[in-house]
Structures are given as structure tokens and as C-alpha cells.
Symmetry: C2
Subunit: 148 residues, 2 copies
Amino acid sequence: MEEQFKLDNQLCFRLYTASRLLTQAYHPLLSEQGLTYPQYLVLLVLWEKDAQPVNDIAKRLFLETNTVTPLLQRMEKEGIIVRAKGSEDGRQRIVSLTRKGKALKKELANVPFAVGSAVACKSVKPETAPELFRMLDDIIAKLDAKQE
Amino acid sequence: MEEQFKLDNQLCFRLYTASRLLTQAYHPLLSEQGLTYPQYLVLLVLWEKDAQPVNDIAKRLFLETNTVTPLLQRMEKEGIIVRAKGSEDGRQRIVSLTRKGKALKKELANVPFAVGSAVACKSVKPETAPELFRMLDDIIAKLDAKQE
DNA sequence: TTGATTTATATCGTTCACGATGCAAATATA
DNA sequence: TATATTTGCATCGTGAACGATATAAATCAA
């Protein structure tokens, strides 16, 4: 068996699996509020800075607008956000939190801690997390650069 | 701003992004053969050991059968695999590579190297990869254990 | 200013993921 | 041996992802 084809030698498969399993850990916490994980990411972005155009949100999440637009439409239908036509640039749609969207921040305050403790293990703890973060950031930076 | 809500402090977001971007790096190489990334993963599993029931493939990929079944149906339609009723256990469907599925191994021989060089960077190189692999394996093991 | 190009967003089609549910074959229990 | 339970796989519905394409507003060029 050629080494390069062994599943256990594949970085991408590890990332794919770790990502899926960790996202699943969020599920019970988020579904309680009727949210999905990508919707939660949009909230994180808007809690940092409210009233952003679709494109800024998409860029922050390394997603395309054709992924983000339907996601935002669903969130708007849920009354979490509103999408208003940009006043200076008529093409833009400015996404803002509603009162409900802002209130979710309190409801979800414990989520990061709950997930943090769910994933804490030998390799992931306060001392080693920065190392892991740096590695992943390097990978993201390298791959994102190729997109341009 | 509360630290725990900063996108830049989120492990899951990093894994999610790194996974998506790295999967995208596979796309031009795989689509050449009409494959998707999850289909490529199924091939990796079958190249390691041919003729496996659906459940074994799903478990190996940490996926549910309701994800794998439609995926296999599409691969069967493409003539890459066949799904035969199990002889000893009539509930099982044994998935086997066709001649075409086996031949793809040669066609895709360069994929791991191409992707490897695309992602190679400061943090990911022969010396540091094992460390990263170990961390991701720890996360997967910890989260997978909670599923049982 | 008119026409061409770019930009911001939306729509469409296909393929995952995955919770929920259904069904038939195998196994356990009464 | 009947009946109940479990197991393996499939189907269905919803929400991402993402390539391809469309549309309208803004900008650039002639």
C-alpha cells in the first residue's frame, strides 16, 4: 500500500473530521436557540461589529456570498437580523442585528466554555492551544493566498 | 468585547476554515476525474481494503450511513463501485471497487503530493506535521468518545 | 454622456451532512 | 417457535458549501 494513499496519513481528512465532530458538539447548545453553527459564526461576526455588508461578513468567514446570502435570508426570516439596502452604495445590503439577535448573546454566553471543556484533552489545553492555533492559521493563510 | 466570543479565539472556526480551504485545494485535481472530496475518501478506504459493508466505510470516515448511502449510490451510478447484497448477512450491502474504481488509483497518484505541496508552510512540514497530526487525533478521539 | 467593465448580491443546481424516520433481516427473549 | 428487539441500510427534509450564472448599481473609458 502506497503511503500517500493511507487515510491515516491525510491532513485534510483529520481537519475534515475534527471540524465536523467539533461542530456537532455545538449542535445541542445552538439548536436550543434555533441556530446552526454557520449562523452562530455570523452572530460572532456581528457581535464584534454590527451593521456590515454581506461581503464583509463573507470575507471574515472565508465564505462566498452565494453561501452567505441564503444563510442570512434564513436568519432574517427568524428575526435575528435585518438586511437593509445600503444608502451610499445601492448594491450593498447592510446586515444588522435585531433586538433578538443582540439578546442571543446573553443566551449563548456559556457556549464557548461548554464546548471548550468538551474538547479539552491532552493536546488541547491553555498551554498547547496557541501552538495549534498558529499551525491552523498558517494553513489558512497559505491556502487563502492561493485564492486571489 | 468578551474574549470567548471573539472569532479569532475559536478553535472550531479555524478547523472549519482550514478544512474547507484544504478541501477546495483538492477540487481541481478530483473534478478532473469527476470526483468529489468525500467520494475520494471512500476510494481511499476501499483502496486500503476492498469489499466492505456500508457501515464499515461509514465508521472509518466518522460519518453516518445516511450520508454515505447516497454518496455510494452516486458512485455506483458513475461505475466506480458496485453495491452487492451481503451473502451471510442479508441486511448488509458490500461495496466493491469496479475496474474503473481501481484504475482511478493510478490517475490520482499525484494528488497527495500536489496537495501536500500546496499546503506546505512554516507550520506544516515533515518535522512538525506529526505534532499537528497528534493534536488533531486527540481532538477526534475525545469528541468521538462522546458519541457512544 | 454613452457604452463597457467591474462590483455587490442573488439565484440555481448538485452534493454533502445530519436529524428523524422507515423497513427488512438478524438476533434475543419469552 | 412466536414475539420483541436490535441492527444495517435507505428515505426524507433542511441547511449549508460552492461552481456557474444572472442582475442591478457603480465606476471607468471613449
